[in-house]
Symmetry: D2
Subunit: 159 residues, 4 copies
């Protein structure tokens, strides 16, 4: 009854081996991302969208730094927030929009990298609340720089 | 460069395939656990200790419930806090003690189960701060009931 | 435009100068509290309920300790979780129940006190989500031992 | 023994009525802020620095928006992170630097405002860890848009 590697893999793989998101939802996500002025300002782009998972990447530039020249925690958080938001949107109804209710992030290592890969993943999809985890990796996806836990809210028309 | 299943497994397996914790540290953890009055009150016991990982289990009793007869969020949180604390202690120096600096938990499902399995796992071990994740599973380790992200502090003698 | 003491007081006083909670809601809260087995096990009691605010107190006993004989972080968290839950319930519709969605706590000082006073307070009351802050004070209400930020969910019949 | 308005005010006023930060520390903070490329990119500026408190403001521009034209949660978080960081730096030793260990934020209202006022405040100052709260207000400092709880770490030379 101890959680074994199989259970752990199943947990991490949730939503991972389903069919691709349908075109309608992928379009909705990409259009929404294009309207996020902050993502443009940061120079971020969507790497991939799957059901329950979204990956955003962002190259380093001095305009994203904190005082020592690494990625600012706020920049990393912004990328992970959007990644978790779009991971959530991918499992919501087609006419829903998404807002961030709250999130928490641990900054694990100085983000001394030329590229951030921000991965958001749904771990619990309710009708109103969707809980996600987010991982910020360095460009080689070898070092975990930050870890997020987030709650997203589905906004439905007429509500 | 997209985090793939291999990178994800490596992340989750960190600290997992090392040799067992040495007897000195395992004793220190079990003695510390025995001094935690709250763990006795809840009826919890240590299931296993490995380097960077500790598993605590606790059977349900009415004295642990919230208003609807499920495990109280506070009981689950207490178990995960101790599991993360002992996961951290397992990677600290032999004369260190551990205190919780902070944690955040998402309650994912009503904890309608006869047994909680609380698993704590180190994801970043610094000299002073150790960052952990915690998972609360139902007794069959099939449903993820709650997810924690925690920061522990090493307390060293003479500091 | 700088937040001044007046704005800060207004923020902290939100919900504080309204009329008392009506008897129906106070009864609902006290009955719900009485059904929380964990609160009985910890030896906690409700000190007061006002609109948007609930105070729970709990005397120390060895059965609530961590390894050094202070209040276990999990015990403090449990008290604050219930305090935030009942603060939330006090502003919800009469037939609603409350569940914890998530919370985060910082443990600020070793809880070396004979009494914990756990105060929960609503800072944003939506129809479904209620956001609270929680403060754990020592028995003299002079030292802030822990600080919580929590999200509660309203559960309405037939939903 | 119930936390009363006096205790609550004392809590919120901690660090507030001390003498101004000395010129050396204020200079250190302003120079550090000037090196944060992200703050320049967002168009943020320091409004005030006091011992244990820092206020940053940032006017709205489309380049800071989420998909509906409000401030992106990541922008608000970035401002609060820096405000908490500099509030912390104001109470650290003169040769210390500050890094964010972790933070959690609740987004309370859609940030439909022309100006964000991000206020960071120390609630517990240890030698290594400093715990802060952050409030994001609208431009009139009337509506609380978001609430943060954060842990900052002092980095000292030669450590």
């Amino acid at each position: 009854m101890i959680p074994d590697q199989a259970a752990r893999s199943a947990y991490l793989s949730a939503h991972q081996f389903q069919s691709p998101v349908n075109a309608l939802i992928e379009n909705k996500i990409r259009e929404s991302f294009a309207r996020q002025g902050l993502m443009q300002t940061l120079g971020a782009s969507i790497r991939s969208v799957e059901p329950g998972r979204a990956v955003i990447e962002c190259p380093f530039q001095l305009g994203l730094s904190q005082q020592n020249g690494y990625f600012h925690a706020g920049a990393i958080t912004s990328l992970l927030d959007s990644a978790c938001g779009y991971a959530s949107l991918s499992v919501m109804e087609e006419d829903a929009d998404v807002l961030s209710a709250e999130f928490k992030i641990n900054l694990l290592k100085p983000a001394d990298t030329q590229l951030i890969i921000a991965e958001g993943k749904v771990i619990q999809a309710g009708r109103t609340l969707v809980v996600c985890e987010g991982w910020a990796w360095d460009g080689a996806a070898k070092k975990l720089l930050a870890k997020m836990q987030a709650t997203m809210v589905a906004i439905r028309p007429g509500k």
